[in-house]
Every structure is written in C-alpha cells, then in structure tokens.
C-alpha cells in the first residue's frame, strides 16, 4: 500500500513555487493508477518522491507501513529495487545491446553472471524482444525501446512500476502496445502507476484515474476510469 499524507513539495529558486500542495492519496497493492494532468502539474514529482529522488517538504509518504523519510541513505538502493521505473526518453545506454542494457541493471546490484545469463533473455522474451538480444537501441523502434526499458524495470521483479509518460515519444500503435504490456504486468499482481497527459491512453486503460492540477488532486475516479471532461 502506498500512502501520501498531506504531501507538499516546494521548488525553491528565486521564487518559491509549490509543486505539490497537501496531497492525500492511497494506492492499494495490485492497483493500476493513471495520474493525468498538464505539464508542470506535479505528476513526475509524485513518482520521484516514491523513489526518494526527492523528499517532501511537508507530509509523509508511506510504503507498506514504512515512512520513506525514515529510510537511511544506504537502504535507498534497496527501495529502488522494489520499484521499477520507465520514462518517456527510455533512458537506455546507446553503447550497449538490449541484453547488456538489462544485464547492466543486474550487474550494478551485484548479480552474478549465471543469474544474468538466465534472467535477461527470459525477461526480454516476456516483453517480446526475445529476438533482439544483440540489437543496439538505435536499431530498435520507439515501441521496442520502451519495451526494453520496461524489461529493465522488471528485472528485479519489482512490486511497483512507475511509468512517467511512457507513450510520450510513441505513435498510437506503439503507445497501445506499451499500455497493453503495462496492463499485462498489472494483471500479474504488480502495482502500476502511470503518469501521462494523454487522455486516449487513460481511456484505453479504463482503470482508476487521478487528475492533478497545480499540485492538487482535483479528481479521483476509482470506478469506470473514463476520463471525460
């Protein structure tokens, strides 16, 4: 269970801007939640708070009963292994093959070679890239790149997947493929939180939708999930 309790974050430069303003939220295990809102509404900030890239200025974020603020810095990598992340710009290493991009995520966590040799082809097969192990990112289509990024996010068998505008750089067909893949992952029990500004994507999913504007949740549609203004 993920809980946001009165969470406020501030961007403090020349002028102080509130990115999130007293956000309260509960996400149950296994849910598929879409967060929709315009650019700068605070969608990505919510995801970054969950991976402890940033900390809230006020309020608490609780994951499985543990306040994230109480996690010592040394344990943050362990938290991040529980959470897979997918981004609009894929964040793939251009000088590594599909296999190496996923293997890299295991290597930096200390996995041994045998484990990597078994797990990486398996996960690439699951996302439909079983025949692209030796392809470099520039040899893959946008949709394939995003599926590779999802494979990397899944490699630690995370309980939560955070997807920040995963269809932002994709055409309609590839966007639909990526959404289907995320739904499949969710059906297997993984909590998925998707941040997007794309209403078509949200409507295609048909699950819970949180609407966020100027740092506040303005609508929480648990039923039906169709986002219609």
């Amino acid at each position: 269970m993920i809980e946001f309790k009165e969470v406020t974050t501030i961007y403090d430069n020349d002028e102080t801007i509130e990115i999130l303003n007293g956000v309260n939220l509960e996400i149950k295990d296994g849910e598929f939640v879409s967060i929709i809102g315009p650019a700068g509404a605070g969608k990505s900030t919510m995801l970054r708070l969950l991976t402890r890239e940033i900390s809230p200025h006020k309020g608490e974020i609780v994951l499985d009963g543990v306040n994230l603020a109480h996690i010592p810095p040394k344990a943050i990598p362990l938290l991040r292994r529980k959470i897979g992340t997918v981004y609009q710009d894929f964040k793939l290493l251009s000088n590594k093959t599909a296999f190496e991009n996923v293997a890299f995520a295991m290597e930096v966590c200390g996995a041994d070679r045998d484990e990597i040799e078994i797990d990486v082809p398996k996960i690439l097969g699951i996302v439909g890239l079983g025949d692209k192990l030796k392809s470099f990112p520039h040899q893959l289509s946008g949709g394939e790149k995003q599926r590779l990024a999802i494979a990397r996010a899944l490699i630690h068998r995370p309980r939560i997947i955070l997807a920040d505008e995963p269809t932002g750089n994709l055409d309609l067909v590839n966007s639909y493929d990526v959404v289907k893949l995320l739904m499949k992952i969710n059906e297997l029990g993984t909590t998925v939180i998707l941040a997007t500004h794309n209403r078509e994507v949200v409507n295609a999913i048909g699950k819970r939708v949180l609407s966020i504007e100027k740092g506040k949740i303005v609508r929480d549609q648990v039923e039906n999930g169709k986002y219609v203004i």
Partner: protein, 302 residues
C-alpha cells in the same frame, strides 16, 4: 562477490581507456610527483652520505696542560669512553704529537730548524673524541668543561668545528624540508588534477550513473569503479617512474661516484629495489584513490 570485483575492475579499466587524453594528463602529473619523490629520496641518500662523511672527519680534540700526568689523562679517557654518546677516544701523547707534526712538515726546513732550536717539546698531549652523533658534541664538551677536569684541560677545539657541524646539519635539514614541501605541493596538484579528471569522467557518464541509481545500484557498485580508475592512474605512473628511474640512476651513478668517492646511487637503489618499487606504487595508488574518493564524495550524490 568475485563477480562484483570483476565488474568493478572492468568498469574502472573501461573508464580509464575511454578518457584516454584525460588519463594521460593525470598520469603525467602523477609521474612528475613520483619523479620528484624519487629525486628527493636520492638527494636524501646523497645528503646522508655527505653528512656521515663529514661527521667522520669531525671530532673534538681536548688539549691537556703540560703538568697533567699520563694517569690523569687516562682517567679522563676512560670517563669519556663510559659515556654512551662517545664512539671512540684516541690518546695522542706529547711525543706522538711531535712526531706526527715533524712528519707532516718533513720537507719544511724552516719548521724543522725551529723545532731543533727548542729545548723542549712545545706540543700538548691530547684526546681526540668522536661522538656517535654530531649533535652530541656539545654535551661531551660540557662534560669536559665540568669542575672535575677543569684543572687538567687547557683547551677544547670543538668551538672551531662547531660551525662546520652546524652547517652540515642545517644543509641536510634544509634539503629534507624543502624537498618535502615541494613534493607535498606537487602531490596536491596531482590530487587536484586527478580530482578534475574523475569529475569529468563522472560528468561524461551522467546518464549511466543516473540509470544505475534508478535501478537500485548500491553506492559501492556505483562508486568503486571510480576508485579503481584513480588507483590505475597511480599504478601506471609508478610503473613509468620505475622504468625511467633505474636507467637514469645507472647512468648518473658513476658521475656522482667520481665527485663523491664511495657513494654509489645505483647500489643503494638496487639493494632496496623491492622496498622502493613498493613505496612508489603505494604512494601512486594512494594519491589516485584519494583524489577519486574526494571527487566522488562531492559529485556523486546517491
């Protein structure tokens, strides 16, 4: 664990190769530091040889009054020998002193004639005292100037040698201090250059590091390759200095020996080859790892 270490060394080596120009620059500065360090060691060795050569030549002579008996002088000699600071004491009797003087001036008829004119031996009996360490002459002189021997001793020539001893000690101390300061200054520059190299490496691999952080890479797995990279700069520099230093020492050693007979630079470094190479590698790797550590702490916030 073994796999982990293998990966850390692989990544460190890849970083090292990838930034070849930066790596060469950093290694170059470290080579300079280590060359200076080796030069300082050589200078220290040469200075210690000069000092010990001079110290061998320096002693304190105690001249006794003509009425001092041989027994009294022998008592002073044994008292001096019982001091822990005295290396040896040599007795020169009046007759022995005269003979040595005559021998020294054998060709000088004026001196020989003058001595023949004299009724008695004008020279005094003396003790030549050598200290274990040149810094201990002052305390030996104080001992001789004490009440116990005041009635026997005519003069002590230490004060004539004191300035030479002090000068030798100050030159050798100065060489060590300035050399040390210079080495420290260059080491600081090497740390700054390595620091900036690693910082640039970190900057050029920003995306890789960001991904490592996002997928839950531990601090150790992210940071350790940069420490390895720093260590590699140091190890390579130490290797280069070893390869340069020994042939140079071999080449200049005979020239030094012609100036300072009995002082062989190459035999000194050849007999201490293991310790010297170990020290070079230790200092090089320590310099590299330290500067990488500082850069990582500052620029890699996990």
């Amino acid at each position: 664990m073994k796999e982990s270490f293998r990966r850390i060394f692989d990544v460190g080596w890849t970083n090292f190769k990838r930034n070849s120009y930066l790596s060469m620059g950093t290694t170059g500065v470290m080579v300079l530091v280590l060359v200076l360090f080796s030069g300082l060691m050589s200078l220290n060795y040469l200075a210690s040889q000069v000092v010990s050569g001079l110290e061998e030549k320096v002693d304190v002579s105690v001249y006794f009054k003509n009425d001092a008996s041989e027994e009294e002088i022998a008592k002073v000699k044994s008292d001096l020998e019982s001091l822990g600071t005295v290396k040896n004491v040599e007795y020169v009797s009046k007759d022995q002193a005269l003979n040595e003087f005559k021998e020294r001036h054998a060709g000088d008829t004026l001196v020989q004639d003058s001595l023949a004119e004299l009724d008695e031996n004008p020279l005094q009996a003396s003790l030549n005292v050598k200290a274990e360490d040149s810094a201990q002459y002052a305390s030996i002189v104080t001992f001789l100037e004490g009440n116990k021997f005041r009635s026997l001793v005519d003069k002590i020539n230490f004060y004539e040698n004191e300035q030479v001893i002090a000068r030798v000690l100050s030159i050798s101390g100065g060489l060590q201090n300035w050399g040390f300061l210079l080495t420290m200054a260059l080491a600081l520059i090497a740390i700054l250059v390595t620091f900036n190299t690693v910082r640039l490496t970190i900057y050029s691999q920003k995306q890789e590091i960001e991904i490592m952080r996002l997928v839950g890479g531990s601090n150790w797995h992210i940071k350790a390759p940069y420490l390895v990279e720093g260590g590699m700069y140091g190890a390579l520099a130490a290797g280069i200095v070893t390869v340069i230093f020994y042939p140079v020492a071999f080449f200049i050693s005979p020239k030094i020996e012609s100036l300072m007979p009995g002082v062989s630079l190459i035999s000194y470094f050849a007999s201490n080859i293991i310790q010297f190479i170990f020290l070079l590698f230790f200092i090089g790797i320590l310099l590299g790892v330290t500067s990488s550590f500082v850069a990582i702490r500052r620029f890699l916030k996990i």
